[in-house]
């Protein structure tokens, strides 16, 4: 598959920060191990965020740490308890909120929902 080409299943290959990365049709990393801060920065710009704030990085790192330790994404209540912020604050940090914004930038699997 050439760069930018979309497979029959919607998988897309891109080169970001010198690395070949596969994304699903919604733009989520297919393999969390492909994630890097550089890749997150590039993707955040595409999301309309010029520079990721410290709060945004804290959420991204929390998601990654939780995923690395538990093999699954945290529940909303676990994020809230872990960071001490309300869901209203957390959801307003990224376009698309936690599920479609923060999770995508953190390299976690596509949460899959009824809107997709």
């Amino acid at each position: 598959m050439a760069e930018g080409e979309v497979s029959a299943l919607g998988t897309r290959k891109r080169f970001i920060a010198g690395k070949e990365i596969l994304f699903d049709k919604e733009g989520f990393f297919l393999d969390a191990r492909d994630w890097s801060e550089e890749a997150a920065t590039v993707l955040s710009r595409e999301m309309g965020i010029d520079v990721l704030s410290e709060k945004q990085w804290r959420l991204i790192r929390f998601l990654r740490d939780y995923y690395a330790n538990n093999g699954k994404a945290p529940l909303s209540s676990e994020i809230k308890a872990g960071l001490g912020w309300t869901l209203m604050e957390l959801e307003s940090l990224f376009p698309g909120g936690i599920r479609l914004g923060a999770r995508l930038l953190a390299g976690l699997p596509n949460p899959q929902s009824c809107t997709q």
Partner: protein, 394 residues
Amino acid sequence: MLRKKRFIYADNAATTFPKPHEVLAEMLDLYETKGVSPGRGSYDLSVEAEDLVDRVRRQICGFFGGGDPSRVIFCYNATDALNLLIQGLIEPGCHVISSRLEHNSVLRPLHHFYQQGIIKLDLVPFDTQGFIDPDDVARAINPKTKFIILTHGSNVLGTIQPVQEIGAVCRAKSVPLILDVTQTAGMVPIDMAKWGISAIAFTGHKSLYGPTGIGGFVLSRDLDVRTTRFGGTGLDSKSLVHSQRYPQRLEAGTINMLGVIGLSAGIRYLEKKGLHSTYAHEMSLIHRLRDGLSSLQAVQLYCARSLENHLPILLCNIKEMNPEQVSTILDGDFDIATRAGLHCAPLVHQDLGTSPEGGVRFSLGAFNTAEEIDTILEAMAEICRFREGTNPRA
């Protein structure tokens, strides 16, 4: 910030929760004492189990106004029932009518056959209030129309369709009408015989207060469905041909005995509680919710002007907010469970203009209270304030 109270469940259109204690208790009790394979053995307990299943068939037949208990067929859920009905009725070259209000449980099986060129398909629209016009159905009928399959109550908009009028149209043109009563079974009375309905497909775990994993359909005597699943029935084991007697004709393999017990207990629970009073209670709450939400400027409601012929379901959005985020905030900050997205009914959202993100659906059940509605309204107001940047906590 609102203080957390108890969990508020407003996703009853997905499944009612919690299940009544007496339903769960009866399931455990009967399954412990009679949970053998019904109708397969000649020992007393197996015969008793079969009697129990037959009693439940009679109960369901009576509940829906069907004419023949042997034509009550148990399935896993409404989707399974609808698949069996559709696949057992379709013939190459036939024409089927459905609507743009349907759930994917109807749309996807039909689309599968349509895409393969096996059937012709017409989907009638719904009007600005969320209702199908019986005249549209009448106009869509042609000599090749094999059946019409419609939702009785929309799982997105909550509108209850004029099925008696549509039934009259179908009777006049001798076309079978099949209803998906997933959302209405247990909410409003359903009378197949009186309304001229040829089949209804239901699930047990919504407003019938049974468990998940049990559903089925009821066939009138004027409609026969081909066997599309084959296997053991407990009858005529020496033959390699699947029995064509009802209900075995459409049931292959051991049925979900625990589910059948729970379904029966759920219906009895509902009848004891009173179908009409339960519905009236839930509708009073949805009125309260509709009135409260309509006073919030940032809230966009998608509902009919009148809540007559309506289910306790309300769809809305907060302007400029993704419904998934609203639902996540309701859960995480306020302990309120709702369903966001397209609700497996993509064409409804397409026509409402809410695609691809959908909306936030509140769906109420017997255990919701007026105080809970007020808490939901306070939560929605607080989210609106936050969105407008006037959150007092900021």
